[in-house]
């Protein structure tokens, strides 16, 4: 990555001051690699993670482009082919449900919602968690103790029931799903970020910044948060599948997205109703959902192995 100019100044940079002979020695010499490049190379060597990333990329493309390309509408009911098995002949590649809606296009549209919820909710929890954790960790003392005690208290609550309650109380609006899940999911992030910040703030460069008179908020913004990136990235990839799962769970119970919108959870729920007569209505959304979760987990695992210096062996 380009952003890491500080990495290997010792190897490549001083070439200008050397005499031509020595400069020639250094020419084509070891090119410095930043920790990010190291991590990148480790990640590329992890075949499971790379495969998962490729599959995930294809999945995202399909979900974005698919509904435009496919001639069916997600709530168009094809009365000539209700509950049709997957068939190329009638154009319903994944079959249709009990009222003749095309499963393929519904699965892809549902994927849009599921992935969107995963992304946005994770973003919400990312913003809350990182700022909360960084502030608690950096200021320490009473601030830290009070803030983390609060996290402990919330942590002990039955999380899923709160989300369900929120959905019941405020109605099943899609925006609320984003916020509800994100707002309850930031606790882990806050804890991880706090721990990391505690060790970061004792680093010499933070000391140096403070000695130079940089203000606390600037230190947090410019020195602490960028160095949290690795940990946060790993955690984000592991949070996305969790969030998708929570949304599917809610939709499965009938508490998530509402018709005409759909998500993988809602589709699995519909499919489970008809699975005896039309197993394909369950199979396709379930497969898409599972493959997505599977891939995200592998990517997250790969990232952790690549970025966590502790497990380097």
């Amino acid at each position: 990555m380009k952003s890491s100019e500080a990495t290997t100044a010792g190897v490549g940079a001083p070439a200008a001051e050397l005499d031509p002979f020595e400069a020639a020695l250094h020419l084509g010499d070891v090119k410095g690699r930043s920790p990010w490049e190291d991590a990148w190379h480790r990640l590329l060597k992890n075949r499971a993670a790379v495969t998962a990333a490729i599959i995930m990329g294809v999945m995202i493309l399909l979900v974005i482009i698919g509904p435009w390309v496919i001639s069916w509408d997600m709530d168009y009911t094809d009365w000539d082919h209700t509950q049709s098995a997957p068939s190329f002949a009638n154009g319903h590649w994944f079959g249709t449900d009990a009222v003749g809606r095309d499963i393929l296009v519904r699965t892809l549209e549902g994927g849009r919602i599921s992935l969107l919820v995963g992304l946005v909710s994770t973003l919400v929890s990312l913003v809350i968690g990182v700022s909360y954790g960084a502030i608690a960790g950096y200021y320490g003392g009473v601030t830290d103790r009070v803030m983390m005690r609060l996290v402990d208290i919330i942590y002990a609550m039955p999380f899923m029931f709160f989300v369900i309650l929120l959905m019941v109380v405020f109605g099943r609006h899609i925006l609320l799903i984003f916020v509800a899940i994100g707002a309850v999911n930031w606790l882990d992030m806050a804890r991880i970020v706090r721990g990391q910040t505690l060790s970061l703030k004792r680093m010499e460069y933070v000391e140096a910044a403070r000695a130079c008179g940089v203000e606390n908020r600037d230190i947090i913004r410019r020195h602490i948060v960028p160095n949290l990136l690795g940990v946060v990235m790993v955690y984000v990839t592991l949070t996305i599948p969790q969030v998708i799962l929570v949304e599917s769970f809610l939709s499965f119970l009938g508490l998530g997205v509402q018709e005409p919108m759909s998500s993988w959870g809602a589709l699995v729920s519909d499919g489970a109703q008809d699975m005896e007569s039309a197993p394909w209505t369950l199979a396709f959304p379930a497969a898409f959902l599972t493959v997505t979760l599977y891939c995200f987990n592998y990517i997250g695992d790969g990232l952790r192995d690549a970025l966590d210096p502790k497990d380097r062996s």
Partner: protein, 314 residues
């Protein structure tokens, strides 16, 4: 392990921290449910206003919110969750007493299965690190972690009940047949997660010096694993038991619904959909206390198994 002062202080402090948690739980749940639009007596057919008023007076819904709140707190103190708003002639206590044994049975069996199978699979994989068996097992474990239980459950029903006809597709009659599918569904992610945890920690422990010493002494491998490696390797699994309980409880909501099991989770979802205030609050509180209590036990277990732990840091 001696019951030294710091240990006692640690326990006391943990117990004391439970109180604000509970209070916050009660408060949040109470006010959340009360600001909900729609009341428990909303129905298709509007009730005559006089009857509506009578009903609300009977359940104290006409009082100021704060008064209702303190009334509820007082009730909770004597462990009375009040009457259900939807199930006629039932108190929430009775509903919990009715549903919980079922949920507990399924949950406890799933936990047991998850722990035993998860630990054995994890140890097995660690001992054959990087073999084909290890890779395929861990691939399956990752699948187990990823695949949602509301996908597993219909698949199992389809396979073992609809096509196979060996087990009932749902219902609950306290026989082992009716328990198999729900328990397996619930246990699957726990097995998978514990197996992954156990493999990782076992590999780490096997590389440590005291294991090398044990081997150098000439102990048979079996004894090295069982006597020396297993206990420290179990620590991460033990600390996962708290979150695992919470996961099992939430999982049971879905599983009970799919298999139509009359457990606490079914009551909760039904209560949430019907705005049965007292039932919803009662169940959330009950689950909250359960999770807090189990976390406390797990914490104690952890500190007993790990003598290195410094209580002040917890």
């Amino acid at each position: 392990m001696t019951l030294d002062q710091s240990f006692v202080r640690h326990i006391t402090r943990r117990l004391l921290s439970v109180l604000p948690t509970l209070l916050m739980l009660i408060t949040v749940v109470f006010f959340l449910v009360r600001v909900a639009p729609g009341g428990p007596f909303d129905s298709e057919k509007a009730l005559p206003p006089e009857i509506q008023a009578n009903l609300e007076a009977k359940y104290h819904l006409d009082e100021p919110l704060l008064q209702q709140y303190f009334r509820y707190l007082g009730q909770i103190l004597v462990l009375d969750f009040g009457p259900s708003f939807q199930y006629k002639d039932w108190t929430v206590n009775e509903l919990i007493a009715q549903g919980f044994p079922v949920s507990l049975t399924i949950g406890a069996l799933a936990m047991l299965l998850g722990f035993v199978l998860g630990v054995s699979i994890g140890v097995g994989a660690a001992l054959r690190q990087n073999s084909a068996a290890d890779f395929s097992t861990m691939g399956f474990a990752m699948l187990g972690v990823s695949i949602p239980n509301f996908v597993v459950a219909p698949l199992l029903i389809l396979l073992f009940a609809v096509y196979g006809g060996w087990l009932p597709a749902g219902g609950w009659d306290w026989t082992w047949q009716s328990a198999v599918l729900p328990v397996v569904t619930l246990a699957l992610p726990v097995i998978a997660y514990i197996a992954r945890l156990m493999r990782g920690s076992m590999i780490e422990v096997l590389h440590s010096n005291f294991i090398r010493t044990a081997r150098a002494k000439g102990l048979p491998e079996r004894q090295v694993i069982l006597r020396h490696a297993l206990k420290p390797a179990l620590l991460p699994v033990i600390s996962y038991m708290g979150p695992a309980t919470a996961a099992l409880i939430t999982g049971s909501v879905v599983v009970e619904r799919i298999f139509s099991i009359p457990g606490l989770g079914s009551y909760f979802v039904q209560g949430a959909l019907n705005r049965d205030y007292t039932l919803v609050m009662g169940v959330v509180l009950f689950y909250g206390v359960l999770i807090i209590a189990l976390n406390f036990i797990v914490d104690l277990l952890y500190s007993i198994l790990n003598p290195k732990i410094a209580y002040e840091e917890l």
